[in-house]
């Protein structure tokens, strides 16, 4: 059992390290090559954990090799559009000017039910309202409505809106985030005053506190633990 314990730790650390180096995209939408590598890594890593007769090297070495391949391929994709097209494919227009492109639907093996499901997911029920529906290389369907059907913006209405700016977290679960306090141009005196105005004397009693560029404070008191 000791071997399994340490092997699991080693594989876990290797995987986390490898996924970290591959970048945040691995955590969200995956391109084809990224999906292949993610599936492969998870499968390869499991074998030496389940069977201690297999050397750990048989799990670690493929992870390193796949990580290197991914770094090389993603580097090539960034540099070359042709390589990106070859490895990841091209975005396809499934709907243009409210008309379904049946050829593209067949080519991408998208059924009408799947298309309707995707559209419902984006709160669009009428295909004739859609200017473009684009099937992206990572499998997402992006929809662009006709200009007449798009939501009206404040700019179009000539309404002046106020922007409070980005809210910086000052206190996170009872802990001060000093770099954000400095970033907002505030100091600990200001924080003390804000807390005393809310009848709080200890940071531990604060669950969440943020302040935006306009100086608006969002405050959430910590609930009593019982």
């Amino acid at each position: 059992m000791g071997i399994v314990f340490f092997r699991t730790l080693i594989i876990y650390v290797s995987l986390v390290f490898a996924m970290r180096l591959m970048g945040k995209r691995q955590l969200g939408e995956l391109e084809l090559s990224e999906l292949v590598i993610t599936v492969l890594i998870s499968d390869i890593a499991a074998h030496p954990l389940q069977d201690i007769g297999i050397p750990l090297m048989n799990g670690v070495l493929p992870i390193i090799i796949l990580l290197c391949c991914e770094l090389i391929i993603s580097g090539i994709i960034v540099k070359s559009n042709r390589a990106k097209e070859f490895l990841c494919g091209k975005p396809c227009f499934l709907i243009v000017n409210g008309v379904i492109d049946q050829k593209q639907m067949k080519k991408n093996r998208v059924s009408l039910d799947e298309l309707a499901e995707e559209l419902r997911g984006q709160s669009v029920l009428d295909i004739s309202l859609i200017k473009y529906a684009i099937l992206e290389t990572d499998g997402r369907l992006n929809i662009v409505l006709f200009p007449s059907e798009r939501p009206v913006t404040a700019g179009q209405m000539c309404v002046i809106t106020s922007d409070g700016g980005y809210p910086a977290i000052i206190v996170n679960n009872g802990k001060l985030v000093p770099q954000n306090l400095l970033l907002c141009g505030k100091d600990e005196n200001w924080l003390r005053n804000e807390l005393s105005a809310r009848n709080v004397s200890d940071l531990k009693d604060v669950y969440f506190m943020s302040v935006n560029d306009a100086g608006q404070v969002y405050f959430a008191k910590a609930e009593d633990e019982k």
């Binding site: 007769g53 297999i54 391949c69 090389i72």
Partner: protein, 125 residues
């Protein structure tokens, strides 16, 4: 491009290390197989004690290589060879006649290890 070059360098280094590992396993198993062949010849020439001593020293060399082999080889293959060594040694030390196949079987198991590690069309596919 720095990251890509580092990745290429690591891949090449791993390839070189893998080939060196195969060469090392090849050399080691070849030496061990030669020792077993010599032990067989000694046995055939009527020197069972000399044969047993040769098998014993070869087995010690094999067991001394365990820390490396356990990292690089499947443990089931290592166990097969270790069992074959103990089996052959006990056969030689017993009064019964040792069949020629017993020496051959151990040599075959040693060759199997390197055959599985060697990079070739057969092992790849």
């Amino acid at each position: 491009m720095k990251r890509e070059f580092v990745a290429i360098a690591i891949l090449l280094a791993l390839l070189a290390l893998s080939l060196m590992n195969v060469r090392h396993i090849e050399n080691k198993t070849m030496t061990l197989a030669e020792e077993i062949e010599e032990a067989g010849e000694l046995y055939r020439s009527g020197d069972p004690e000399g044969s047993a001593a040769r098998v014993q020293s070869s087995m010690e060399s094999w067991l001394g290589w365990e820390s490396y082999s356990h990292i690089m080889l499947r443990h089931s293959e290592i166990d097969l060879v270790t069992d074959a060594y103990f089996g052959l040694l006990s056969e030689i030390e017993s009064e019964d006649t040792v069949p020629e196949a017993s020496f051959g079987a151990l040599i075959e198991k040693l060759n199997d290890i390197v055959n599985k590690e060697r990079v070739g069309l057969g092992s790849l596919l």
